[in-house]
Symmetry: C2
Amino acid sequence: MLPLKKDMKLMRSLQQKKFRNETGLFIVEGKKMVEEAIASNCEIHSIYTTDPEWKGEGSEAFLIPAREMETISGLSTPAGYLAAVFQPQNKSLTSTEKFVFVLDGINDPGNLGSIMRTADWFGVKSILCTPDTVDAFNPKVVQSTMGSIFNTSVHYLAESAIAKWAVENGYTLMGADLSGADLFGLPFPEKTALVIGSESHGIRDGLRAHIKQFVHIPGNGKAESLNAGVAAAIMVSQWFRTKRN
Amino acid sequence: MLPLKKDMKLMRSLQQKKFRNETGLFIVEGKKMVEEAIASNCEIHSIYTTDPEWKGEGSEAFLIPAREMETISGLSTPAGYLAAVFQPQNKSLTSTEKFVFVLDGINDPGNLGSIMRTADWFGVKSILCTPDTVDAFNPKVVQSTMGSIFNTSVHYLAESAIAKWAVENGYTLMGADLSGADLFGLPFPEKTALVIGSESHGIRDGLRAHIKQFVHIPGNGKAESLNAGVAAAIMVSQWFRTKRN
């Protein structure tokens, strides 16, 4: 069975946020990622492969030539397996978790993907984002989550709504900032909402006013800052270390 | 003053390792990075900018049109500032530091750059790499170090030479591995050489046989692994936390 021209056009369009929003679809690539999509709760729209041997875990896949795959893949070296997946709908923002990330204008797809993967490692399920944070269904974000896109939920809210939600649900807003207290000497609150700003502008005024405790990662080298995904990871690892017992 | 055609050709060639090795040069891009290169101990070969206002911190820069910058830049959106810098020569591998990273076949440039930046944050100066680890002067590595390329030194050695160096200088080889002991319950040795493998193959047999202690990062989520740069950062942050007092 061969895909229609309009299917291929649809696949190409999903590189753009506008069309992802309109269709509610997103793209995953790579054998493992496609298999994880099939195994997840997400509904699959369509699957494409260049591999005639691949059985697609029982799902029907379009077998397409490599030159066609190149036209729909967002990777510089297409993996040969691509699926269009429906974005999970109505993932509600639960307030029973002890730790959530809040991302303030993180615009690097690799950083968001890395934070989602790290969150998923430590059992953190919810990530709140200011509206200008990069789209979690951006193909570069999806690929760098390495499958954690299916285990975490990302919610885009205005700064004021994030602050209101935190207060109403008993979360203390902490903020990663060079001016903050020493991460390694600080007890975490009972329910932590940790705000991470972007590397270029840090945490902006909209959220800054609501933060109860700033925290920084001590170091004695010469680097002026850490990668945002790395800073988020070091901080959540400390939270996990101090809270799990 | 305008650059010669052969200079532009040379700049383009430095995207390739072969020509970086032949010339001993590497490329840095971005205003801040170029200014850090000038302020560093590295010798500058030549500087190019599209910004007529920029004074280059006293260094002479070729003012070139944006379309020329596009031909020599490795960035999808050229920053407008580019320098060719001589690679530091004869950086000797010191053995007085309490912590060194050992990277086994890390081939993602962003991961190496991130590890160099994190190392520089925590005051770790030396990074040993197996010969198939990505070149530290690869433009993508350089850019993701955010200047830490000038504060860290990377040494490429065969596995057996790394193991020999560690033994002779009193380092205990630790390895990041899912089978290892709990990071948060483990004392670090007096002198630690922490081996990080690539995400695809982990630590390979060549180094594995020499490792005295494997260690893993505990988590209770669903992700199967962490990004190599993230795992390295969480581990070195624990070392720093337990050793600084």
